[in-house]
Symmetry: C2
Subunit: 452 residues, 2 copies
C-alpha cells in the first residue's frame, strides 16, 4: 500500500515537472519527506535534478542533499553559486559532509571547504583524516555534552539550548573540564528524575565507547548487540571527539551485508546500487575473480586430461562428472556461507575450528549417505547392470562432499586468522577447489575399484 | 580491545563458577551488562545456566531472560517456581514475551500464561494471533500516547509518569478519544518548544505508519530508509495498537540478510546460530536443495552422454568442460547476487527487467571477450596447433557467459513477479542451469565448426 501511494505521488510530480507547473511542484515538494524527495531527484536527468534541488525550501535542502548519491551531489555543487553552497554547508551534519567530501574530486573539495565556516572547516579536515571504514569516518561532532555538577534542570536547559543543532539529543555524554568522557546519561533518565537531582548521581560511569580507529563494522555490531541509540567516540586520551548514531550504524550493517553477499558471489565490493553503476565499472568488479577462477579451472581440466584413458573405457563415468562437481561445489557453498555469516555476526570464532571440523564431518556423512543412496538408485535405473560403476560414483559423492565441507569450514577461519576477509574465500574459490577435489577422488576411487 | 577485555572477564566468571565462589560471582554479575550476562549463560550447560540465572538481581532478570536463546529460556522456565515466573512475566516487554511464547511447547505456554497478569495475558493472546514475520509479531504495546489538547507541560508530565514502563519514550503518538492515530511528536520537539505550546501545533500529522499485517522486512526497510527510531502500528481502522522500535527493526534486517545469504547458498533458512544447531537439523536444512540439484545435474550428464562421440574424437574438448561450466556458473552467481540484493534493498524493481537485460548483455560481452581472449592464449600454450578447437572453446565461453548472466538477471525478477522469494532461485539453481546451457552451447558450436 505504502509503495503504491508513493508511486502515484511520484507520477503526479513527474507530470508537474514535464508540464512545467513549477509553482505547484514547489508546493508539493515542500510537503514531502526528505528521503522521498531525494529519491525523486535521483530518478531525473542531471539538469532536471539541479532544477528540482533549487526549488526546495531552505530548511530541508541540506537534508535532501545528504540523501543524494555522490554523482548527483557533484552535479549540484557544480551548478550552484558559492552563496547557495555556503548555506548547505552550514546546515549539513559533519558526518554527512565528510561522506560527501570523500567522494568529490579534489578541485571540488577545495571549493566546498572554501565555502565552509572556518571552525567547521577545521573539523572537516580533522574528520577527513580518519581512515575510511573507521568509527572516526562515520561519527558526527554534533552531540550534547553535560558536566557532572549539573542538576537535571541545568541539563535539560542545556539540551533545550543546543539541542536544535545536535543530530541526536537522547543520549548525552558527561565530560570533565579536559573533555575526558566520564559518563553517559539519557534524556529518559533525566525526565524520570527530579529537577534537583545531580547528573553525577544519574550517569552511568561504565560507558560503552569506541575509539576513532575502531572498525565501523565492529561499532555497528555493538549497536545491534547492545540495543543502543548512540555510541561515544574517544581519541587515544579518552577525550570525547564524536558520536556515532544508530541510523549510521544501520547503514553500515546494511552495507557490510551487501559487501559480504557480493564477495561471496565473487565480485569486488561496491557501494553503488546495481542500476547506477556504469557498464565498465560493473565489468571491473566482476572480471578479476572470473579470470582467476577460469585460470584455476585449468587444474580440473588437467586432472580430467590425465584420466582420458578411463573415459574411453567407461563413458558412463564421464556423464557423472557434472553431478559430482556440482554436488560437492554446492555442499561446500552451503558450509562456507554458514561459517562466513557466523563469523560476521560473531556467532563463530576462530577458536571454534575443531568444533566446526567435527560438526562438518558428521553433517557430511549424513548428507553424503542420503545423496549417494538416491544417486545409486538413479544410476541403476539409467544404466542397468553397471553395479560397480554406480558404486564408484556413489562412494565418490560421499568422499567429495566430506572434502568440500571440511575445506569450506576451515578456509574462512584460516582467512580470518591471517587477517583476510573470510567472505573473499567464499563460494567461487570453494567451488573451484571442490571441483578439483571431487575429480581427484573420483578417479582414485575408480582406479581402485574398476579395471581401468 | 573490547573483545579482549570481555574474554578476560568471562574467564574470571568461569573460574568463580567452577570454584563455587558464588557470592563473588553474584556481585560480578550484578555489575555486568544484560547482553553480556546472557552470552555468558548461553555458554554454560543447562544446570549451570539455571543456577546463574537465579543469582541475578530481580531488576535485570527479565532483561537477561529476553536475550537468551529459546532452548535456554525453556530450561529456565521448567526449573523455576511459579512465583519467580510471575515476576519475570511482569517485567518482560510484550514483544519479548511474544517471541518467547512462539518458541515454547504448548504445555509450557499454558503455564506461562497462567502466571501472567490478566490484562497482560489478554494482550499476549491478541499479539500471538498476528502472523509470524508481521509488524504485529514484533511490535510492543508499551508506548506513550498523548492527546492533541495537551500542552507541552502536560505531555512531559505524562511521559515522566508512564515513561518508566515504556520501551521507547522518545517518539510519542497522539491519539483521539477513540484511539485513532492522528499525529506524532518527539521528545525533541517537546523539549525545544515552550511549556505552554500545544501538542496539536507541534505534532506531525502526516505520520508514517504500518498495519499489524505489514511484512516485518518492509517495516525494517522503512526504518533504515527514513532513519526513524520507532514506527506506529495501527489496525484496520487506524487505531493505534503498538509500536515497533529500532532495535527490533535492526534484528529483523540482520535476520533477513542472514536468511538471504543462507538461501543464496542453497540452504533452508534458520534463525539458530551455526554452532547451536543440531547435526540432524543442519542436515535437514541442507539436504533438500542438494538433492534437487543433484537430480537436476542428471540433465547435464545426459547432454554429455549425447556427445560422447565428440569426446572420443577430440579429447581436448573434454578437458575444457570444467572451465566452461565453472566460468558460466560463477558469472551467473555474480549477476543473481547483485539482482537479489538489489531487490531486497528496493534498489531494483520488477519493472526494471528490460534495463537489466540490456545491462547484462553489454556486461557479458565485455566479460566474455576478455575471458575468451586470455583463454585462447592459455589453450594455445597448452595445446599448440589446436587453433580451431581453441576458437570453439573461446566462442563458447562468450556465449555461455551471456546465457548465464541473462538467466541470472531474469530469474530473480520472475520469481518476485510470481511472489516467490528471489533468494530461493539463487546460486545453486543458476549454477545448475548455467552448466546445462554451457554444455549445450559448447557442443552446438563444436558441431558447427569442427568435423565431428
Amino acid at each position: 500500500m505504502e509503495e503504491m501511494t508513493r508511486t502515484m505521488e511520484f507520477e503526479a510530480l513527474q507530470e508537474m515537472l514535464s508540464e512545467r507547473r513549477y509553482r505547484e511542484l514547489k508546493d508539493a515538494l515542500a510537503e514531502m519527506n526528505e528521503v522521498d524527495i531525494a529519491e525523486f531527484i535521483l530518478e531525473q536527468p542531471a539538469e532536471k535534478a539541479v532544477l528540482l534541488f533549487r526549488m526546495l525550501p531552505k530548511e530541508i535542502a541540506a537534508d535532501v542533499f545528504s540523501n543524494l548519491e555522490s554523482d548527483v551531489q557533484e552535479t549540484i555543487i557544480a551548478s550552484i553559486t558559492d552563496f547557495e553552497l555556503r548555506e548547505i554547508m552550514d546546515d549539513l551534519f559533519v558526518d554527512d559532509a565528510v561522506d560527501m567530501l570523500e567522494e568529490l574530486p579534489s578541485n571540488m573539495v577545495k571549493r566546498v571547504l572554501k565555502n565552509t565556516a572556518p571552525e567547521d572547516r577545521k573539523l572537516l579536515n580533522q574528520f577527513l583524516r580518519y581512515p575510511d571504514d573507521s568509527a572516526g569516518s562515520i561519527m558526527t561532532a554534533e552531540f550534547i555534552d553535560l558536566k557532572e555538577t549539573m542538576t537535571v534542570e541545568d541539563a535539560i536547559k542545556r539540551i533545550r539550548r543546543i539541542g536544535e543543532d545536535a543530530e541526536m539529543i537522547y543520549t548525552c555524554y558527561v565530560t570533565d573540564s579536559r573533555r575526558h568522557l566520564i559518563g553517559v546519561v539519557t534524556v529518559k533518565d533525566l525526565l524520570l528524575a527530579q529537577d534537583d537531582d545531580k547528573v553525577i548521581d544519574l550517569m552511568e560511569e561504565d560507558v560503552m565507547k569506541v575509539s576513532t580507529q575502531t572498525d565501523q563494522e565492529e561499532v555497528a555490531r555493538m549497536f545491534s548487540k547492545y540495543d543502543m541509540l548512540a555510541m561515544p567516540v574517544v581519541d587515544n586520551e579518552n577525550r570525547l571527539v564524536g558520536m556515532v548514531t544508530i541510523d549510521d550504524a544501520v547503514d553500515v550493517l546494511e552495507e557490510e551485508a551487501t559487501e559480504d553477499i557480493q564477495k561471496m558471489a565473487g565480485q569486488l565490493p561496491s557501494e553503488k546500487p546495481y542500476l547506477r553503476m556504469g557498464i565498465l565499472e560493473t565489468v571491473k568488479k566482476r572480471l578479476p575473480w572470473l579470470m582467476i577462477l577460469m585460470i584455476s579451472a585449468t587444474v580440473s581440466g588437467k586432472i580430467l586430461q590425465n584420466f582420458e584413458a578411463a573415459f574411453v573405457a567407461i563413458p558412463m563415468l564421464v556423464t557423472c562428472i557434472p553431478m559430482l562437481m556440482d554436488t560437492s561445489g554446492n555442499a561446500g557453498a552451503q558450509t562456507s556461507a554458514s561459517i562466513i555469516r557466523g563469523l560476521a555476526l560473531k556467532e563463530v570464532q576462530t577458536r571454534d575450528i575443531l568444533k566446526i571440523v567435527w560438526r562438518e564431518i558428521r553433517v557430511s556423512l549424513c548428507l553424503g549417505i542420503c545423496l549417494a543412496a538416491v544417486n545409486y538408485i538413479r544410476l541403476m535405473i539409467m544404466f542397468p547392470h553397471h553395479y560397480l560403476e554406480s558404486l564408484v560414483v556413489s562412494i565418490t559423492a560421499v568422499a567429495a562432499i566430506c572434502l568440500a565441507n571440511l575445506m569450506a569450514g576451515i578456509m574462512p577461519i584460516f582467512a580470518t586468522k591471517i587477517h583476510l576477509d573470510p567472505a573473499l574465500v567464499a563460494t567461487p574459490i570453494i567451488t573451484t577447489v571442490a571441483d578439483a577435489l571431487a575429480l581427484i577422488s573420483y578417479f582414485m576411487i575408480a582406479k581402485a575399484l574398476l579395471p581401468i
